[in-house]
């Protein structure tokens, strides 16, 4: 049973994904066509990309609720900057602005010692307000059609956002599992005071993690903006739920210390499959929000049962 639970934590979401895919291929004759499959994966990229950042944050024992607002801020900056400084520079500046928000999050959390949930909850409102102020409360249309290539174009038949997701996955995988910094993140998440005593610069690690989360939100915001060619200050209002659901569904432990990036990747695609499935049935958009909420509670439910089981085993003196 313990072995099963360990295995489930690693590949549970993969089983869901395959089961969902089999179900959808029966439910819809179009599902197994290459274009549809790529579209489902491409729609899953936002959740997965921000999920990578959120995985690092939850692994380090933190949270970031401000990701949706950061996406909106990135979108607004892009739409304002592109006409003046060109697309590549605008993307660069917007991503720096997004990362800077993470830097402020990290500073408030580590230096003012404010709880990460409260900090990012407050920053969610502040950044949303700033995005609305910068945009003057309007949506800003981008006239440079070339920018659309980034989010909707294809290279070698595969949508561009998938490349971005894969590149980020490789980078984050490398950071989390193959660098000292990644091990330090896990160390801070499993036992902060032990990490501090053993000489790690906990504050610096946390700040770096929050910068990375905001960076991923910036990337997701850039992709989404390029798909619509509009800078939207109210973009992605409930997105933080998707990012956290993807992370937890992927098997990253809420207690911190153990991140599962493969799981996050598959969970991002899985959520996108749910949306696709609901679209086939033709339900309203409210049900999509409902389904993500229910999937989150379900994931928590399974997580809770697993923790209870492991606790009873521990109480019996078994090594888990």
């Amino acid at each position: 049973m313990v072995k099963f639970l360990k295995l489930y934590e690693k590949i549970g979401i993969f089983i869901f994904l395959v089961a969902g895919a089999i179900f959808l291929s029966f439910a819809s004759p179009h599902f197994l066509q290459g274009d549809t499959l790529f579209n489902v994966v491409a729609q899953g990229t936002y959740g997965a990309i921000v999920g990578f950042g959120m995985t690092l944050a939850i692994t380090s024992g933190g949270f970031d609720l401000s990701v949706g607002a950061v996406m909106a801020l990135t979108s607004v900056f892009l739409s304002i900057l592109i006409p003046f400084i060109g697309i590549p520079l605008a993307i660069l500046v917007s991503l720096i602005v997004a990362s800077f928000v993470g830097f402020i999050n990290g500073l408030i959390i580590t230096k003012l010692k404010v709880n990460p949930l409260i900090t990012t909850l407050a920053m969610m409102t502040i950044i949303r307000g700033v995005a609305l102020i910068v945009a003057g409360g309007r949506q800003i249309v981008i006239h440079q059609k070339v920018f659309m290539e980034l989010g909707t174009g294809k290279t070698l038949g595969i949508p561009n956002p998938i490349y971005i997701m894969v590149i980020l996955f490789v980078i984050f995988y490398f950071i989390l599992y193959h660098t000292p910094f990644g091990r330090h993140i896990s160390a801070v998440g499993s036992n902060e005071s032990a990490a501090r005593i053993s000489g790690l610069n906990v504050d610096l690690i946390k700040i770096a993690v929050f910068v990375l989360v905001s960076f991923t939100a910036g990337v997701a915001g850039t992709i989404r903006t390029s798909q619509t060619l509009i800078g939207i200050p109210t973009m992605a209002p409930g997105f933080v739920l998707v990012a956290i659901t993807v992370t937890i569904l992927g098997g990253t432990s809420l207690a911190g210390g153990r991140g599962n990036l493969w799981g996050t990747l598959f969970a991002g695609i899985f959520i996108s499959m749910i949306y696709y499935g609901l679209n086939i049935i033709g339900v309203q958009i409210f049900y999509q929000m409902l389904s993500v909420g229910i999937v989150l509670i379900l994931a928590l439910f399974i997580d809770g049962i697993r923790n209870r089981y492991l606790e009873t085993l521990k109480a019996k003196g078994l090594k888990v």
């Binding site: 909850l121 407050a122 920053m123 409102t125 102020i133 739920l241 509670i297």
Partner: protein, 325 residues
């Protein structure tokens, strides 16, 4: 000796911080905005803003219990919207008094469900209620098909707009809620359990307190007060809009509680602080609105106030903590 005298003064200042800073802040706010805006200083505006205070202050009671207990509930805004639309849609069918009763019971039930999820699944309340926040909101959309429910019932409207002897009923209701909550917190065993669980969960378990039951009751109380707040606000607006109602409400309520001097993470709190903090928040918003500050700045202002409040409470703890060492 002079040094210890000084540190004692600082300590006294720190421990009384919430009790006098908030009323002072409130007075300063009212004076400044009264000078800046003629519209602000009218009796009509001051009284009607107090009515909006009741909307936040009543919700803050439940949240104060919840935070003292060491938890959070961020589903309150969506819960408010859901119970308001369902309760008010019942009005033509079952009449005013039963519909209000139904709203309160239904809200308490939703809080109860939150409590069961949090205690039985042993998942941090924050995440559970984050999921519930979206579930409640989508149910509110689905139930109404995203159309507002208009309210014509006299009794329901009276709760938000009526007056008793010239005083708005919502304000009387708010004060009543605070007195009951204060009695519950300070004069009943339950209040001591809440604080004990929030201060040290393991110690509370060892001393025989039923932690799960305490937590479930606290979440049910959150629901009950949200039910009251939902009747007040929907009566005030004359309609219940599933999308607009309660947007950002969790944020305002948590800000009120934390600004009021209740410390995140559990333990003893400050109920009246939450009351004054609600006044500060509503009059700040009202004042910013009337002085023609862009409404988006209100988001920024309240966010900054929240971070400032929590950071201040850290400073307070450092000062008080040093004394113990």
């Amino acid at each position: 000796m002079k040094g210890s005298e000084k540190s004692r003064l600082i300590e006294q200042f720190a421990s009384r911080f919430d009790s006098f800073v908030l009323p002072l802040l409130f007075i300063a706010l009212v004076v400044v905005f009264s000078i800046l805006s003629p519209a602000f200083r009218t009796t009509f505006n001051l009284v009607s803003t107090l009515r909006f205070t009741s909307f936040i202050a009543v919700g803050a009671i439940g949240m104060a219990f919840c935070i003292m207990n060491g938890d959070f509930d961020i589903s309150v805004g969506s819960m408010l919207s859901l119970v308001a639309v369902i309760g008010s849609s019942m009005l033509p069918v079952i009449g005013g008094v039963p519909a209000v009763m139904f709203t309160l019971i239904f809200a308490s039930f939703l809080g109860f469900v939150n409590g069961v999820f949090v205690t039985k699944l042993r998942i941090p309340a924050f995440i559970t209620t984050l999921g519930m926040m979206f579930i409640f909101r989508s149910f509110a959309y689905i139930y109404t098909n995203n159309t507002p429910v208009y309210i014509q019932n006299k009794f329901w409207l009276f709760i938000g707009n009526g007056k008793v002897a010239g005083v708005p009923f919502a304000i009387i209701l708010m004060l009543l809620c605070y007195v009951v909550a204060w009695l519950l917190l300070r004069k009943s065993p339950f209040g001591r359990y809440v604080i004990a669980v929030g201060t040290n969960r393991d110690a509370a378990v060892l001393s025989g307190i039923n932690v799960d039951r305490t937590k479930i009751i606290v979440f049910t109380l959150v629901g009950l007060f949200i039910g009251i707040a939902s009747v007040i606000i929907s009566a005030n607006l004359g309609s219940a809009n599933p999308g607009m109602l309660g947007q950002g409400y969790e944020f305002q309520v948590i800000t009120a509680v934390v600004l009021g001097g209740t410390v995140l993470g559990g333990g003893n709190g400050n109920l009246w602080g939450a009351f004054f903090a609600s006044m500060v928040i509503t009059y700040l918003k009202n004042g910013l609105g009337l002085t023609q500050v862009d409404s988006y700045w209100q988001f920024v202002a309240i966010g900054l106030v929240l971070i400032f409040a929590v950071a201040m409470s850290r400073v307070k703890f450092t000062v008080l903590g040093q004394k113990e060492v």
